[in-house]
Subunit: 239 residues, 2 copies
């Protein structure tokens, strides 16, 4: 036994890219995979880097950051368990990839993984689909950045985290009444960098949501949604 984990037991087995492969092939994948633990704040890949490995997130949240020389930063995406990081047959592009929380990664060296993709065209097809999804997500966020008020932006962010957290724990639709508790993967400053707002504005809007009885917080990073449907309304409509 070369390694002490198996794809069959993987927490994101049916969520990750690898699920596209027939079960018979999971051996090949398993053979070229290795695990990494990463601490919050660590940079996984640098901007425009020529990657020598790709990763699938097992647990934790990753942020994709665009940085200008003068220090201005914009978070251009978050990646959650099951998501694939990297670009086979290409360069990473102008984003820095950083651990927003402590991470568990499943990694593949470039060459073996690209070889596997050549043999299994389905992998390329699935990667294409996921890239379409990333593109849709990026464009959705363009709408958020360009058209929403600070209040709606914050509500939208909280809703997104609630949704993704929920989908990791249960299948089926997000109930519109149950209280839902989770850890925020971002600090106030980072939320600002994601939403195009000042940290103070984030803080004030979170306070607002608390005053309205839509959410409550325990400490700085624990949040509980009390009224999901009103949260949703806050994210959609201006009033």
């Amino acid at each position: 036994m070369g390694s002490h984990f198996a794809c069959d037991e993987c927490a994101v087995r049916d969520r990750a890219l690898c699920s596209a492969l027939p079960r018979a092939e999971s051996g090949h994948l398993h053979r070229i995979a290795y695990r990494r633990q990463i601490r919050r704040g660590k940079i996984i890949y640098y901007s425009d880097q020529d990657l020598e490995s790709f990763s699938v997130i097992i647990s934790g949240v990753v942020k994709l950051v665009r940085t200008k020389s003068d220090g201005r930063q914009q978070i251009v995406g978050l990646q959650f368990p099951g998501d694939f990081i990297g670009r086979p047959f290409g360069e990473l592009g102008p984003v820095m990839v950083e651990a927003a929380t402590d991470l568990d990664l499943c990694c593949f060296s470039r060459k073996p993984f690209e070889n596997l993709m050549q043999q299994q065209p389905i992998l390329e097809r699935v990667l294409l689909q996921r890239t379409f999804d990333d593109l849709d997500a990026a464009r959705h966020w363009m709408f958020v950045l360009g058209r929403l008020s600070s209040r709606a932006k914050v509500a939208c962010f909280v809703h997104q985290i609630a949704e993704r957290t929920h989908s990791l724990r249960a299948t089926g639709p997000l109930e519109y009444s149950c209280p839902l508790e989770f850890e925020l993967p971002l600090s106030r400053t980072e939320m600002g960098e994601y939403l195009g707002l000042a940290m103070e504005t984030i803080s004030r809007q979170i306070k607002e949501l608390k005053n309205e009885g839509i959410i409550e917080t325990k400490g700085w990073r624990t949040m509980r949604v009390l009224d999901l449907s009103r949260l949703h309304a806050r994210a959609e409509f201006e009033d």
Copy 2:
């Protein structure tokens, strides 16, 4: 002779997706292609539609629009000559595709094109690369929307149009001194929808750029860049 145009004479022959195919294969492509002319304002594809055709832009500019039921719109991307529109093996996603200017399109019916892609894996590879590029472009715009002042946003937009217009006319880098004239593909209102600003703000910032001697305008849609390096500076730095 089935049709009176040939891929060899195509204006975007070496810019479009098709250029990935070996010359010997251009016959196959040619056989399944047909041309369409479209008037400014016409909607080419509707949001989430299951496309029965794909398009390559021969000339003109296309806008990708996200619309909310309450009328708020955000332009989430522009597509220029050579760009590919549509998603083989997938749905379009939540964007409406509209002609920003009069258009010349080269179209492919879904099935034949998907068949060709199956036979020519290089096509799928190239499509993946282009989707990566689209993703990078979207993320770049997230930075613009989230982090730039109205002045920098407008400068950034003008610069982008100047750049793409130039690259259609000449190869090699954009000179940082030559005056450069072009037609704006968007109205003031549309620029606002692209940049997340009110139309009036766009107007005022364009005026500013004129006052500074960076650009001049002839009518509403014709613009000439007088000082590209200062335009670039306005797009990058805050002062």
